[in-house]
Subunit: 460 residues, 2 copies
């Protein structure tokens, strides 16, 4: 059987997400992000298309690098307003049976004790369909919202994150042993106290002396996603992530990143097939190539250059408002090289990009590649990406929501199925079982799984 393509939809509890300005498109519904109906409709579309999951990004701050304040982000609705993503998962849960949810949560600003409860609650309510995208935060404005002058330095953040993971693993994997929950009405025994353990953690950043408040959820630890692109981030991902999310405009950028991730995971001693690597991709499709191209041309009319550059400024730390739209990318590279900018020249060394072109590229679904075409062309391209870069699947960004997703489900999914590279039904079980054919719990080569097994050995 050919390698199966994995698919997540990529969204956020906000307007436009990575397609600033597109909320002005008459068919875009993303400005309804704060209604139950919008998310329920999206979930149903994705489940009809057998998507593995909906990956929900998040930020706890604002994009205030462009122009030095939040004004342009507000005008263009560039990820502000942005609502809490955890609260839309239950809405979508009740409307679906198999769709997974990759929830982004920034661990830097919430105590592990309450966070662990929130996650266990969601994994239970979803019957084990929860993933957690581990983020350590990257906007200084978020730190200021939490009462800090600036966010901790990048490397310190990963140190904190490492200890945070240790604490939540202990809560999820160790506090309640297998068999702790008896639910034995005849004996009047709900939980067996001898199998429920206080977690005593006295670390550098976190202290804890408590039992986990929740009984074990189907997966205990949710499926772990990570999107770290830095060296420290990649080491962190290698240690913990079961799915890794990367982004880049071309195969030239993605291929070496995938190879590096797989090497890091092997070096970390994890022997099973994970992680699955997803790359960001925007697919604009229709019944034919011509129809898709016409749609692309129409979408482009709604791009917000300043909105796209507001996001790019936040991602790179470069204030793009100080450049003219017709300035050349080369000029910025001389000022401040950043991987997200550099990727454009790596992708196509002979091309001279202007700031306008960057905005028009990134304004359509962000910094991932864009594929435009009918079912055949899109399927060819996606298969080409799998083959040439060794990725496992795609985080599909939207341009117009939910049209980008429903178009994909209608036109591309059947073609991928015809080619035998996409499932025709969901696998049974939890998200971990669906993605890896194993589980529902973390395996013994994973640090979270080791926590659980450590407890078992203690008890023996």
């Amino acid at each position: 059987m050919s390698k199966q393509i994995h698919l997540n939809a990529f969204s956020m509890n906000t307007i436009g997400h990575q397609s600033s300005g597109m909320w002005r498109h008459p068919r875009d519904r993303s400005a309804q992000y704060n209604t139950a109906e919008y998310w329920i409709d999206i979930a149903k579309i994705l489940e009809a298309g057998l998507f593995d999951g909906l990956f929900l990004a998040d930020v706890l701050g604002v994009y205030d690098v462009y122009g030095g304040d939040v004004s342009e982000a507000l005008r263009t609705a560039s990820q502000i307003p942005v609502n809490d993503p955890a609260l839309i998962v239950p809405l979508m849960t009740a409307a679906t049976k198999n769709l997974g949810f990759g929830l982004t949560a920034t661990l830097s600003y919430e105590p592990p004790f309450t966070f662990a409860r929130r996650i266990s609650t969601l994994d239970q309510l979803t019957n084990g369909r929860l993933g957690w995208n581990i983020v350590t935060g990257y906007l200084n404005s978020a730190a200021k919202g939490l009462g800090l002058d600036n966010q901790p330095k990048h490397d310190t953040r990963y140190e904190i994150a490492g200890e945070y993971m240790e604490v939540v693993y202990k809560l999820w994997e160790t506090s309640w042993e297998e068999g702790a929950v008896q639910r034995d009405a005849a004996r009047g025994l709900f939980s067996d106290p001898s199998r429920v353990h206080k977690i005593r953690h006295d670390g550098q950043y976190f202290q804890l002396d408590a039992v986990h408040l929740c009984e074990p959820s189907p997966q205990r630890t949710p499926v772990l996603y990570q999107a770290g692109a830095s060296t420290k981030g990649r080491a962190f991902a290698a240690g913990h992530a079961e799915c890794v999310f990367i982004a880049g405009p071309s195969k030239q950028v993605i291929k070496p990143a995938v190879a590096d991730i797989r090497a890091c995971v092997r070096a970390a001693g994890r022997t099973t097939g994970s992680p699955l690597v997803f790359t960001l991709m925007t697919v604009i499709t229709g019944r034919t190539d011509a129809e898709a191209e016409a749609k692309f041309a129409e979408y482009k009319r709604y791009i917000s250059h300043s909105g796209a550059l507001t996001l790019m400024s936040g991602w790179t730390g470069i204030d793009f408002s100080t450049y003219a739209l017709d300035d050349k990318l080369q000029q910025i590279r001389n000022d401040a090289i950043h991987s997200a900018v550099d990727a454009f020249t790596v992708s196509d060394p002979d091309r001279v990009w202007t700031i306008r072109e960057i905005a028009e590229f990134a304004g359509i679904g962000g910094t991932g590649a864009i594929i435009v075409g009918g079912p055949q062309r899109v399927a060819d391209e996606l298969q080409g990406w799998i083959q040439d870069t060794d990725i496992d699947g795609f985080n599909l960004a939207y341009v117009v929501a939910p049209e980008t997703f429903s178009d994909f489900v209608e036109h591309v999914v059947p073609e991928l199925q015809r080619r035998g590279v996409y499932k025709t039904s969901y696998a049974p079980g939890t998200l971990r079982e669906k993605l890896f054919g194993a589980g529902p719990l973390l395996d013994e080569t994973h640090p979270g799984g080791r926590h659980r097994l450590g407890r078992r050995e203690l008890a023996a």
Copy 2:
């Protein structure tokens, strides 16, 4: 028109809630607390009965006073496991149109910035049906879960809570002015930056320098509930609460409490009709008095004495495991007077209670009064409580879930309607509008409302 009776159902994202042991009853479904279906079913029952809301209690710790550890709480499922209540609100939202949600959230352990976002998100998803029960935490075990040796002293907690309220009012009421959100596609203007303000707060306990991440929700500040029974707690409630929740086994206990609350609110300079005062009540009903009494007798067989006393120990700080079930209450009163214990003797000065009797009383829905009877008797009793104590309504605890609620909706609601003391349809609008016939925003005599108006004056 006679005074209308307000009704909340009282529950918690846990098993049995205040009726420990009742999960063993063959018809009780509360052990399904961690499924979507359970909560959706409850919400539909309550909305069919035109309940104002579902009041969701919460704790972030365990009941470990009884016997000095958590063992008995685990065995009897006495509020452990306990899941996050915020995540079940979206489930119920999608299944209802009018039911309100009174969400308990402990402000001591979460930064106001992220909490404010969570609440705004919920108020938007519910179309303005959210209430927030402000709790400052009361279990030492919760503090230990959050890395503190002990919780702050009671009075300090209210000082922190006061500053916390100031910060969240600023985020909800001041950060985004009226008219800040334009959603003007033609002009490409989503938000008007001149009307979105950074909240700069540099207080004793909290620092903030950020715009609120959410656009204004229908109510901005959710309807505020408070359940403080102490002097400081009552002063806090007088300043902030629109609904106050109290509990006691008899009218003798409740009547002076209501009078005191109303006097405190007048003293705080709030002139409008709020707060609504709800008292805890357990109603066991059926088609006839005899049927209800038979049901009550049957329920009693499932009381867990140790479970009820585990909860009582947590509430009072008295380790009831050190007494025999046939010990007299008088003995405990001599050891450690606590209002929750004292209330029993205040209610009936001539009665000598045993520990067993206390357990059997509190094991049926907690420390509120119990009414058992057919529709007529229950309606008589409820009307008597309204008349004699000046309360506005009831937080109805369950014994067997959701049977206690569905019985009430089936048998008592029609009788109350027939008597003209209960609505026959929901009022339009947000929860605040439904409860008070005014709103949707906090009025100008409320400290939260003053924050909003202060901004308006600044802008004029």
